[in-house]
Every structure is written in structure tokens, then in C-alpha cells.
């Protein structure tokens, strides 16, 4: 069985800007993405936890698997948004089945 080397990009960002990031992902050429919910967290701006009152500090995680080249392009395309909105973007190495599924 053959595995294919890809990159795994994980973005932690406020729910409010996730649509902007997804748009940027499309522009960068990502062929797919998955968004996961978060419950709570903490950082330089204090702690938050999900609540119906306000989604203003609610974070979500975006997960993208992409080829190394595309991953570099995605990171470059998203960087301004990541900096402006103080989101987190982390890249790591993964190996996948179905290599051709990922742009």
C-alpha cells in the first residue's frame, strides 16, 4: 500500500472570520477543507468559552490537506489575514491514501 507525502494545515481562528479564510483557501487553490468546532480556550486576550450570547470570541479549526507546493501557496495567501486577525496557522507533515484526491 502506497502513502503519499502531503502537508496538513491547521488554522485556529475566530468563527467570524472563518468565511474569509475559506474564501482565501479557494483562491489559493485548495481542493477541500473541513471545519471543526472548538469549545473554549485561552490566550493573550484572556479565556473564552462558547456561549449563546456572543460568538465574538468563538474559535473554530480549519483543516486542510494539500500538496507541499500548494501548502506553501496557501500559507502565503492566508498570511495577511492570519496576521490581521491574530489567528494561528500550523503546518505539519502527513502521509495519505488517495494522493490524487488533493490538489
Amino acid at each position: 500500500m502506497q502513502l503519499h507525502r502531503k502537508k496538513r494545515i491547521e488554522i485556529i481562528a475566530e468563527a467570524a472570520i472563518v468565511p474569509l479564510l475559506v474564501e482565501a483557501l479557494h483562491e489559493a487553490g485548495a481542493s477541500g477543507y473541513t471545519i471543526l468546532p472548538a469549545l473554549s480556550g485561552g490566550g493573550h486576550h484572556g479565556a473564552w468559552s462558547e456561549s449563546a450570547m456572543s460568538s465574538a470570541m468563538q474559535m473554530q479549526m480549519i483543516l486542510v490537506i494539500a500538496s507541499p507546493d500548494l501548502a506553501a501557496g496557501i500559507a502565503a495567501r492566508l498570511q495577511p489575514l492570519i496576521l490581521q486577525y491574530k489567528a494561528i496557522l500550523a503546518v505539519s507533515d502527513v502521509e495519505v491514501i488517495r494522493g490524487d484526491h488533493f490538489a
Binding site: L20, H45, M53, A56
Partner: protein, 322 residues
């Protein structure tokens, strides 16, 4: 006035809010699932909008409604300027966070409005059934004013008002729910109400009671999670509602509005948004500190209005109307 305050304080709604505050401050693990709380909030908007619409269908648009709308929207535009002056001048907040916070105080909290509505009914003070439309129209103008305060003219040229923000502002869920339910109530009238009253009308106070429990929990948690608010900011969170209510009551008296209408207008002016405006501000003014504006509006001004503000504004309105 003491009677009114007691009636308010001893209503199950306010008592459950206090229970939530206490439980939250004591770090009880009592929590209401986020989905349930969101569902309750949507229900309250549907119910209050629908009820208002049906009431308008029954008794017609009161003659004062246009005047109430004009004054309400004017307040939503002017109060942020005042709040901004106070926040930058007295509280020494940075320009952008001050502008974002100011926008919250120009906008409104629909749960505060619903609580006032049920309080007025309880003490038997009547008001214009179209008032809920005033509430809906006051939700968003303050957002634009806040952006202008933060960015000046650049708000229109640059990024702040671009992208999803207009939609976020004009089509945000709570406005659509309120205005839509109001319109549907108006169209279907008493016959529509009859079909759905066991869902949309009868349980409303009870739902408000459970929702206020959650608001208490969330407000207490916010107070605990927030990086400490300095004293001048805490003071602002109590003083601003009082100032806003005083201005609203003055304008209402000059306009000759009835006491019930004046009290609701003051409640709307005094209340601060914690749903629609924070979402817009995170997008448009990401460098503003949400720890300040959410904590102030949700954990300071909201409890103040629920527990003490509403009966106070009614007492003042009745005094001025004499």
C-alpha cells in the same frame, strides 16, 4: 417606585437571573448547553416580534409610532458619539476599542427589551404594540457610527465596511428574526396567533425565565474570565445606561410620548448589544479588544438594567408623564 422595584426583583425572571449570577460567581458547574440557549434566544425574538405584529394588526399602528422610530434611530446614532467621548476622555481607552464599545451602547439588547415588556404588562402599563419595530430599527445604525468613530472617512473607503460587513449588519440573524416575525404576525393577525399561541405566546415568560438563568451564568463567567476591568470602565458600564435613559426620557417627554412608550424607549437606549454588534466589530475592527466591550455590555450593563434599570426607567417615565 419601590413597589415597582419589588415587583421586578421578586418576579421569577429576575430571581432566576440572580440565581445564575450567584451560581456563576460561586463557580458552580451549572451550565445550559449552547444550542439550547441559542434556541431560547431565537424563540424569544420570534415570540416578541410575532406578538408585536399581531398587536399592530389588532389595534393599528399607534399615532406615535413614527415619532418613536425617529427618536429611537436618532438615539442609536447619537449615543455612540457620547459613549465614545466618555470612553476616550474619562476612561482613557484607545480610540478603536472605544469606538467599538460605543457602537454596543448605541445598539440594543433584545432580551432586556423582552424583560421590560413583560415587566410593563405585569404592572399593567400599556405601550405601543409597534415598539418592537423600534427595537429592531435601533439594532444597526450604531454599528456604522462606531466604524466612523474608529476610522473616520476611511471607514467608507478602506476595508472596514467592505466584504460581509454590510450583510452582517443589515441581515444579521436577530434583525431578520425580529422583523420577519413582526411582519408575519402583522399579516396573519389574531387568527395566526390563535393557531400558535400555545407555542408562541403562553410559554414566553417561562422561557425568558430560563434564558435569564443562562444570562446570569454567562455574565458571571464573563466577569471571571475577563482580564480585570479597571474601575472607570466598570463605572462607565453603570453610568452610561443611566445617561442614555435620561436622554431618551427627555426626548420622549418633549415629544409627548406616553409613559409606557417612554419607559421602553429608555430601556432600549440604556441597553447595549452583545450579539449583533460584537460579531460585526470582530470583523471590522479586529484590533479592538473584545474583552472590554463584551464584558461591559454583557456582564455590567445587562445585569444593571435587568435588576435595577427597568423599574427605575418606568418610575421616571411615569413621574415625567404626570
Amino acid at each position: 417606585m419601590f413597589d415597582a422595584a419589588a415587583a421586578n426583583l421578586l418576579s421569577p425572571m429576575v430571581l432566576f437571573f440572580v440565581l445564575g449570577l450567584l451560581a456563576g460567581l460561586a463557580k458552580s458547574d451549572l451550565t445550559i448547553p449552547e444550542a439550547i440557549a441559542k434556541g431560547l434566544a431565537l424563540y424569544l425574538m420570534l415570540a416578541i416580534g410575532f406578538k408585536g405584529g399581531v398587536a399592530v394588526a389588532e389595534s393599528g399602528l399607534g399615532g406615535d409610532l413614527v415619532g418613536l422610530i425617529v427618536v429611537g434611530v436618532a438615539l442609536s446614532c447619537l449615543l455612540p458619539v457620547l459613549a465614545f467621548a466618555g470612553l476616550t476622555g474619562l476612561c482613557r481607552l484607545d480610540r478603536v476599542t472605544a469606538a467599538a464599545t460605543a457602537a454596543h451602547y448605541g445598539s440594543i439588547s433584545i432580551v432586556t427589551y423582552v424583560t421590560a415588556d413583560s415587566f410593563l404588562r405585569q404592572v399593567g402599563t400599556s405601550f405601543n404594540p409597534g415598539m418592537v419595530a423600534v427595537a429592531a430599527l435601533m439594532e444597526t445604525p450604531a454599528i456604522v457610527v462606531g466604524l466612523l468613530l474608529a476610522r473616520g472617512g476611511a471607514a467608507f473607503r478602506g476595508g472596514a465596511l467592505r466584504g460581509g460587513l454590510w450583510r452582517e449588519t443589515l441581515l444579521n440573524g436577530s434583525v431578520v428574526m425580529l422583523v420577519g416575525s413582526f411582519a408575519i404576525g402583522w399579516i396573519t393577525g389574531p387568527k395566526g396567533m390563535e393557531a400558535v399561541r400555545a407555542f408562541a405566546l403562553d410559554p414566553m415568560k417561562g422561557v425568558l425565565m430560563l434564558f435569564l438563568l443562562d444570562m446570569g451564568l454567562v455574565a458571571a463567567r464573563r466577569l471571571r474570565e475577563a482580564n480585570k476591568l479597571r474601575a472607570p470602565l466598570l463605572l462607565f458600564g453603570v453610568a452610561m445606561p443611566l445617561v442614555s435613559a435620561a436622554i431618551a426620557l427627555t426626548l420622549a417627554t418633549l415629544s409627548g410620548f406616553a409613559a409606557g412608550d417612554a419607559a421602553l424607549l429608555a430601556t432600549l437606549a440604556a441597553s447595549a448589544s452583545y450579539i449583533a454588534v460584537p460579531a460585526a466589530m470582530r470583523l471590522a475592527l479586529p484590533e479592538a479588544d473584545p474583552g472590554i466591550y463584551i464584558t461591559l455590555s454583557l456582564a455590567v450593563s445587562f445585569p444593571f438594567n435587568i435588576v435595577a434599570g427597568i423599574p427605575l426607567y418606568l418610575a421616571a417615565a411615569e413621574f415625567l408623564a404626570r
